[in-house]
């Protein structure tokens, strides 16, 4: 698996939201895309999963340009997304939500059970709430459901859009821990979009900093944690260092 975004440009009408960015995600990595609100993180992920059209540039998945492939077929290729704001189906139960994650996989019953077991091991909370409507879950549980649902399709690369958004600190720590577990134990490659730069940089291998639709920095995550500019802009501790 190798995901490569090349000189990507994306527009909303006349407004250019993504202004020629290049990002590489290699097999087994956690790569994070950090940036302030409105930097273009969500747009980038939506373009990778096919919800937004590419204006120019390419999205290479294992060397193939997939920028013309419709969104519903990209899941089958191995790209799954837990969207911003979780995007669970509020009116479906936890189990139905998870089953939706495998909509196109005509696996046998036993494989469905295997996948469910895998998700329930990762998120025991979901197992307790399997018959509960998604809309009645807490924010953290909804995030677990969104990630679990994305994993049901056995993705090669998992796209996470601000999984920490709106969660309590305890739950944030929990979710980030699970992100590492998914990467190490399931071997799933992860592209993580975050505003919580501190946590994201601690968990990721490499990182890109996005500002108003452009990549302004690209480095090993641990290096960015100590980068004075990044500290000042995203970690809220930089001022003291200057």
């Amino acid at each position: 698996m190798r995901l490569e975004i090349k000189d990507l440009r994306v527009h909303y009408g006349k407004i250019e939201a993504i202004k020629g960015i290049s990002v590489v995600v290699n097999q087994g990595e956690i790569v994070t895309l950090i940036g302030a609100n409105g930097a273009g993180k969500t747009t980038t992920l939506k373009t990778i999963s096919g919800l937004r059209k590419v204006s120019s540039g390419a999205i290479l998945f294992d060397g193939q340009d997939i920028s013309k492939v419709p969104a519903h077929e990209r899941v089958d290729l191995g790209i799954s997304q837990a969207p911003e704001g979780r995007g669970i189906f509020p009116g479906m139960t936890v189990l139905e939500n998870l089953e939706m994650g495998k909509f196109n996989r005509k696996d046998r019953k036993s494989e469905m059970k295997e996948d469910l077991d895998r998700i329930y091991t990762l998120f025991p909370r979901l197992k307790e709430r399997t018959a509960q409507a998604g809309g009645t879950l807490s924010g953290g549980e909804q995030q677990m459901l969104a990630i679990g649902r994305a994993l049901m399709a056995r993705p090669k690369v998992l796209l996470l859009d601000e999984p920490s958004m709106g969660l309590a600190p305890m739950m944030i720590a929990n979710i980030f821990k699970i992100i590492t577990t998914i990467n190490t134990e399931l071997g799933t490659t992860i592209l993580l979009v975050e505003q919580n730069a501190q946590q994201a940089l601690q968990r990721a291998h490499r990182a890109y900093v996005l500002e108003t639709g452009k990549v302004v920095k690209e480095a090993k995550a641990s290096d960015l944690l100590n980068d004075p500019d990044v500290r000042a802009a995203y970690l809220g501790t930089g001022a003291a260092a200057h």
């Binding site: 919800l51 995007g87 189906f89 009116g91 139960t93």
Partner: protein, 342 residues
């Protein structure tokens, strides 16, 4: 307020198969007795003053129920606002009118063909329209409804503003006669169609299309992220809805024997949509009840002539305030509140 639908579903869940089958058969039996309801002392208040009760049961009641069920597949199941549903009804009706008067086809021969023509037009409309969302889709479908009517109004083949007269009734089968003297036979025919549609919808709902429609209704983008080919499934709901509308149109034309373009105006689309919303969008039992009441009421209160439209409107307004989700709302957890969407 108690939710009768949920209560009913709860009781149904506890029943075993023989109990369910018995219940269904008994319900169908009583539905079949409906044409005689007004002949019986205690329920004789059901009688309608101008048109006979039995004829009212066929049209508008039965036809409205059929159309509301069809529209509910589009609006209720997959959440697409179609404001031009009358188009498919018109296409079915004109198929029956033209094929029978010009080519001598019987209703039984026209029915499948009319359904296919309606489905094909649904596809023709859906392919471009379903790429759009929300308000745009509503406006395009509205336009389509008007275009179909205007074509009927202006072409020679459809008889222009005078429409088509002398449409034959369906030929008798197994001793059932579908003519003016036997409205109860006609009602049974429509009832059979309704049952068939209900059965079909229930089949779909528990299978993949039902899941896909539900996902699309709740969040179309996320549905696509799950691998749902949203365009194809939206198209299917459109085409199936069109098929039901077309079937209703064929039966309607064969019943009234004369059709003209002014029977297929925009207000029919709105009225059918009102039936769906009034009864309980997304829930077939609610839709049946809503359509039944809204179709029957104007004929029952016809004696107050002019004021009846006002009363009809008032009933709608009051009911929608009291029960905004309709008489029999869909399953509670299937409702999407703005809060849970966030």
């Amino acid at each position: 307020m108690i939710n009768i639908r949920d209560k009913g579903a709860e009781i149904w869940e506890t029943w075993n198969r023989p109990k369910r089958v018995a219940f269904v058969l008994i319900s169908i039996f009583f539905a079949g007795l409906l044409p005689f309801a007004a002949d019986w002392g205690p329920t004789s208040f059901l009688n309608t003053p101008i048109t006979s009760f039995q004829n009212v049961l066929v049209y508008p009641v039965g036809m409205f129920i059929l159309m509301a069920l069809g529209l509910n597949i589009v609006v209720g199941k997959s959440g697409l606002l179609d404001l031009g549903y009358v188009a498919f009804f018109a296409i079915g009706a004109y198929s029956q009118a033209i094929l029978s008067t010009k080519f001598g086809w019987s209703t039984w021969e026209v029915l499948p063909v009319g359904i296919v023509i309606a489905m094909f037009s649904g596809m023709l409309l859906g392919l471009p329209a379903l790429r759009l969302r929300g308000d745009y889709l509503a406006i395009i479908t509205l336009g389509f409804g008007e275009i179909v009517r205007i074509i009927a109004l202006n072409s020679k083949g459809t008889g222009g503003p005078n429409g088509v007269a002398g449409i034959p009734n369906p030929p008798a089968v197994f001793g059932f006669k579908f003519d003016l003297m036997h409205p109860e036979h006609y009602f049974w025919l429509v009832l059979g169609m309704i049952l068939l549609v209900v059965w079909m919808i229930r089949r779909f709902t528990v299978r993949r299309p039902g899941r896909a429609w539900e996902a699309i209704r709740q969040d179309e983008d996320v549905a696509a992220l799950m691998g749902v080919n949203t365009l194809v499934y939206k198209l299917w709901s459109f085409v199936i809805g069109a098929a039901v509308g077309g079937a209703a149109g064929v039966l309607y034309a064969s019943k009234v024997m004369v059709i003209s373009p002014d029977m297929f105006k925009f207000d029919v689309s709105v009225l059918i949509l009102a039936c769906v919303v009034f009864g309980g969008i997304g829930n077939i039992w609610g839709v049946i009840l809503g359509a039944g009441i809204l179709a029957y009421l104007p004929d029952r209160i016809r004696f107050i002539s002019d004021a009846r439209q006002v009363i009809f409107g008032l009933v709608l307004i009051i009911m929608m305030n009291l029960r905004p989700d309709g008489l029999l709302p869909r399953k509670k957890r299937e409702k999407i509140t703005e809060k849970s969407k966030k």
